[in-house]
């Protein structure tokens, strides 16, 4: 089969490009497509003729690269796999008349199926890598601790507060309290979409831990719907100070610290 592909290289490649280009819908020029498929074709022949592991690995690497670059240009993984599968159509047209080629063609077809699936897997692996990186980045980005005033830090919470994030928020806030020597922390939950008993429990624990360090916490930014939920669920914030807005909370923290803001 490898010899057959070698001798008919021009014909197969032409037909392959023709079939595959129908699905590109202008996202790739003919020249680009041809050079991509020609590279793949060369690797395919060398993998089939040498039958060594290194040649096969090279082919798989090239397919993974193709899958990545196509994903970046907006191809779906299905379209990428179809482009690989379309070589079967090109080859079939040439072997259709030769009955003795059929068993070899079947083996070739199975191999192409594997390669097509490989592009799919490479696509999924790249996706998962991106998702993991984004999750990490989001965890870092969504838990900033800012200094609002001398002795007052602010913790704006954005996004759903699950156990892992609550733990991270608690650690970062306590570290910031100690490193800045702050006696007040303002936790702003404007960006927290829902508050259930679990989230409330996390908030209470954070406030308790801050108290043990010798700092006071004010919770602010409770939206009307959330206030309703909190009351309906029977969540008690006890003696923890809660304020409507960040401005109110900062004012409260300043007055507790014995400071007053006057017009200049």
């Amino acid at each position: 089969m490898a010899d057959f592909l070698g001798t008919n290289q021009a014909k197969v490649l032409d037909r392959w490009c023709e079939v595959a280009s129908a699905a590109t819908r202008g996202r790739m020029s003919q020249v680009e497509l041809r050079s991509e498929l020609a590279d793949l074709y060369g690797l395919l022949i060398s993998a089939m003729s040498s039958k060594t592991e290194s040649a096969a690995a090279e082919l798989r690497t090239a397919l993974a690269g193709m899958s990545r670059s196509r994903a970046r240009s907006g191809f779906s993984p299905g379209e990428t796999a179809l482009a690989v599968f379309s070589i079967k159509e090109a080859v079939y047209e040439l072997v259709a008349d030769a009955a003795e080629m059929v068993p070899e063609y079947l083996a070739f077809s199975r191999m192409i199926d594997d390669l097509g699936l490989h592009t799919f897997e490479a696509y999924a692996a790249t996706r998962e890598e991106i998702i993991r990186q984004q999750a990490d980045a989001m965890l870092e980005l969504s838990t900033p601790v800012v200094q609002l005033w001398d002795g007052v830090i602010g913790v704006p919470l954005v996004g759903t507060l699950d156990s892992a994030r609550a733990q991270l928020v608690m650690e970062k806030m306590l570290d910031a309290l100690v490193s800045t020597g702050s006696t007040h922390a303002v936790i702003d939950i404007t960006g927290v979409p829902t508050v259930d008993t679990e989230v409330a429990q996390h908030l209470l624990k954070t406030v308790m831990a801050a108290r043990l360090l010798g700092a006071q916490c004010t919770i602010c930014g409770i939206r009307p719907q959330i206030a309703h939920t909190i009351v309906s669920l029977g969540i008690e914030f006890g003696d923890i100070a809660t304020k409507a807005t960040l401005a109110d909370a900062l004012g409260h923290a300043l007055s507790t610290a014995g400071l007053k803001v006057v017009p200049a």
Binding site: M170, E171, L174, D175, L177, V178, G181, S182, T183, K205, M208, A209, A210, R211, L212, L213, G214, A215
Partner: protein, 117 residues
């Protein structure tokens, strides 16, 4: 057995825990502190736990007991220098140390006591 020293600064007793606390040394500290409170008639106790890296329910209870003892002599207890990891552990253990006041450092602890005496 290691003993925890108790220093007197003005009307405040200063206890800095720098050793690994054992049952025996804790009992000794509580007795010493009670004696010292009677002898000096101090109005405040500052317990420095900056050097304490690991806490368990035993240490948590010990701190609460010291707070209760001091209150019997009309002295207020302030805990200073707790590490974030220690605070998280205490919260997870469900010990909120009610009745003991806390401050970030010795300076704020002293100010807290003096503001009330």
């Amino acid at each position: 057995m290691d003993r925890v020293p108790i220093l007197k600064i003005g009307q405040t007793l200063f206890v800095s825990i720098q050793i690994d606390l054992q049952d025996q040394s804790v009992v000794q500290l509580q007795e010493d502190l009670a004696d010292e409170l009677v002898a000096t008639r101090a109005t405040g106790v500052i317990i420095d736990i900056t050097a304490v890296e690991i806490v368990d329910s035993f240490i948590g209870r010990m701190l609460a007991t010291i707070g209760s003892i001091s209150r019997l002599f009309d002295a207020e207890t302030v805990l200073i220098g707790m590490r974030p990891a220690v605070a998280i552990t205490l919260v997870e253990l469900g010990l909120s140390l009610d009745g003991i006041r806390t401050a970030l450092n010795a300076e704020q602890g002293l100010r807290m006591l003096n503001g009330h005496s």
